[in-house]
Subunit: 191 residues, 2 copies
Amino acid sequence: MQELVERIRKYGKNLGNGILKVDGFINHQVDPALMDACGREFARRFKDIGATKVLTAEISGIAPALTTALHLGLPVVYARKHKPITMPDQVLLTLSPSHTKGRMVELIVSPEYLAGGERIIIIDDFLASGATVLGLVRLAHTVGAQVVGIGALIEKTFEGGRLALTHLGVPIESLARIRSMEGDQIFFEDE
Amino acid sequence: MQELVERIRKYGKNLGNGILKVDGFINHQVDPALMDACGREFARRFKDIGATKVLTAEISGIAPALTTALHLGLPVVYARKHKPITMPDQVLLTLSPSHTKGRMVELIVSPEYLAGGERIIIIDDFLASGATVLGLVRLAHTVGAQVVGIGALIEKTFEGGRLALTHLGVPIESLARIRSMEGDQIFFEDE
């Protein structure tokens, strides 16, 4: 999506070690109009797959997942990383390695809001190694829900996440695809 | 706002100790259409106060803050509770007691995205004791930004948050005001 690519080109910052800083419009300060446009674009791409729910992981997935769900007319569930006291004792939990945290994090969903038979679109801010998405897929499969689509705002194609998700056989959509980052320069696929 | 009140009446659950569970449409599973309607309502109430930015705290504040910011045409910043590696070493940080966690949590904002002279609307999911809002106010005041409005989806009027914020002299808007909770019953103000 050209609008997102341009924003990354202008304001994204390569911090080294494969870390792209987009704190000015996605991860800390958020541009709601841009997120709305991204959600609209995901909704357009996923409109015909019969999804019943959008699933994401807190924290940075919430904004794009919310706008996608809004434009698809679906509820959205965000997996928690810490179990809140409002959640029942029995939960769905999996561990997932966090690249930016350098450790395993928990992904927790209440069985109240993820059920067998549901058709899930997973939306996240980044697709890097695919580990977070795979964690969410495990949670969905545990209850017999089906994952029918995967979307990420930004794909770092050099980290292999798409390959790690290919066996799922579902459409994988990303709105900006980064091929490499060198010094101050960010190179996108198709350029 | 009648739509939110009705939703709480139907699906909200009193867990005791002043804890209201609204995980089915705000805190874990989110109804994007309801959040959009709430954001539109906040935007209507705050349209004339000349705000330049919306500020909230992760995690549950993100959805209503995002939709409010969208309808006001403003950026939104969410204070982090853990410093991510993308944030500079020097940050704005304050401690705030968390009612639901039973301990102090950090509220962290990068000085890149909160500056002197800004006019801030604070939006959160709950207004209870007002502690989180006061933490966000401290962060804003530290850099010389001005808080010009405060909004919460749900106010628990029996916890005194409004009184704790009165000295700020700014409009405080809540969309559902709960007077008390007893057993299965939730009582709203104005009924």
